[in-house]
Amino acid sequence: MKGVLSSVRRRYGGVATSLILVSCGLWALGLVVLPQLMMIDYSFRPSLPPAKQGGPEDIYTLANYAALYGNPLNLAIFLKTIWSSALVTATALVVCYPVAFFLARMAVGRTAGLLFIALVIPYWINEILRTFSWLLILARNGFVNTVLLDLGLTQEPIIFLGTTPAILVGMVYAYVLFMVFPIYNSLESLDPHQIEAARDLGAPWWRIHWRIAIPHAKPGIAVGCIMTFMLAAGTYAIPAILGGPKSRWFTEVIYSQFFEALNWNRGAAYAFILLIMCLGFIALMMRLFRVNLAEVTR
């Protein structure tokens, strides 16, 4: 460690080195590690009025975690959130892979440039607005119902909003691009000669993808899946806009613990459960696709 610091100091001088170290320390500890530890600490303590905090009743307990297990409704929401997020991830992967492949290996020149910008624009549009646009489409008097009624395909407007499928449609829409760009990035480095050689050897197109392109895109697929899953499991906006009381998302449960039940300790426990689930998914993806953290965050 001393050798490391001396190499930093040799490179940047004493003043800059101190600034660098202090900044990194404040960020790592003050903004990342300590807040997380505090949240975990909260999750293991009972919710007590301020007067009793630090008193004999303020002991470490698993009660907040047991509360989730003991509440079938919330537990069901939790499981649904995992399952649905995985579904959203899988759907986004299937939808995006051809687009990423086209962008990386088939589009050339101006087409590629324009396509790239066309994809970047929705990527930067606010999640809330992207979701809101689907509200207009799926509403009782929205676009889909208007068309269905006009065509006589249904007599009564169909209620889409407030259902889990509506949330999933909105999520796929909101997060597809987080899947496209990582896969695009990894496919871009695929040597086109590999594909040509495979084609030359008589491989059908699906085999070229299965044996060459997809294995090459593995890091990108892992990143895309991790990002999509994390965003889907961790979003509050989309279920809040497209969902309803019957289609609650786990983040909504957490939020209500904080701001409606005012039980921060239980909220912290639920948040930690969500975090563990996301970390578990990341670990699973990294194992499945045999990539490491540096590749994931490249």
Binding site: S23, C24, T146, Y255, T297
Partner: protein
């Protein structure tokens, strides 16, 4: 050969459909914002109007939200760009376990759901009797936006020719002088990109901000509340403005990025030739 053509056509059609899927909802929203209807809807079409935009401009809450968002954005830039740069400088120097640990900690916010970052920040600062508001919003957003900045700076620093720095030192420059004359000019394009990215990330953030905004409602928070309760086409109008601003920013950013990529071959030429000595067979008998 023709199978190949069929495949290309099929892929092209698929991508066009994908673009339609991406843009159609946004076009609906834009259409609804100029439809003279009481509800935010494109159909039935009741004629063109700009009154919803007028409604917006008379909405003081909106202007307040915009002001908060801009302030938070400025704060996030001021915090996360230097933090990201400092961490990138340190990480390029570290090796082994220390590097792995620090890198893991500093990129972890990118892989953490936004709501959890908001929650942990809220919980942590309550211990110091600081409650939600602009200050916490800036901190919570910066904790992960700085990670993005760090990754951008690391990518740039990886291509930095260290001998330039050594040459400057060798010519008698102080460390500060080296930073000012060699490092900063080299990093400047990335600094500008990082500022833009940090601002865009902050400006559109909802999930993290939700837990820490206190009473300082940023634009996305205000927007979400409008979407959820007050269903008038004014929301669409706001959405259209938001989208227009985003498009301008995205196009500018993308254009800058592509311009930077386009001059790269030239840039490469101005970099020193490869060490030809390394390519020669070793003179030592093997």
């Amino acid at each position: 050969m023709s199978a190949d053509r069929v495949f290309r056509l099929f892929m092209g059609a698929y991508v066009v459909m994908f673009l339609v899927y991406l843009f159609l909802p946004l076009l609906f929203m834009a259409g609804a914002s100029v439809n003279d209807s009481r509800f935010p809807t494109l159909l039935p079409w009741n004629g063109f109007t700009l009154k919803w935009f007028g409604d917006l401009f008379n909405d003081p809450m909106l202007w307040q939200g915009l002001g908060k968002s801009l302030s938070v954005g400025a704060g996030v830039i001021a915090l996360s760009v230097p933090l990201g740069l400092a961490a990138a400088l340190l990480l390029t120097e570290l090796r082994g376990k220390a590097r792995g640990l620090l890198y893991g900690v500093l990129v972890s916010p990118i892989l953490t759901p936004g709501v959890i970052i908001g929650i942990s920040t809220l919980v942590f600062w309550r211990q110091m009797s600081v409650s939600g508001g602009m200050f916490l919003t800036v901190l919570a957003q910066s904790s992960f936006i700085a990670s993005y900045c760090m990754l951008m700076f690391m990518a740039r620093l990886q291509r930095f020719d260290r001998t330039l720095e050594e040459a400057a030192l060798d010519l008698g420059a102080s460390h500060l002088h080296v930073v000012r004359r060699i490092m900063l000019p080299y990093l400047m394009p990335t600094i500008l990109s990082a500022v833009l990215i940090a601002f865009l990330q902050s400006f559109e953030n909802y999930n993290t901000t939700l837990f820490v905004y206190g009473t300082d409602r940023t634009l996305p928070i205000y927007l979400a509340s409008k979407v959820r309760i007050g269903l008038t086409p004014a929301v669409n109008a706001l959405g259209v403005i938001f989208i227009a601003l985003t498009i301008v920013a995205a196009v500018v950013y993308e254009w800058r990025r592509r311009a930077a990529l386009a001059v790269k071959p030239g840039k490469r030429a101005e970099r020193p030739e490869p060490r030809t000595a390394d390519l020669r067979p070793a003179a030592e008998p093997a």
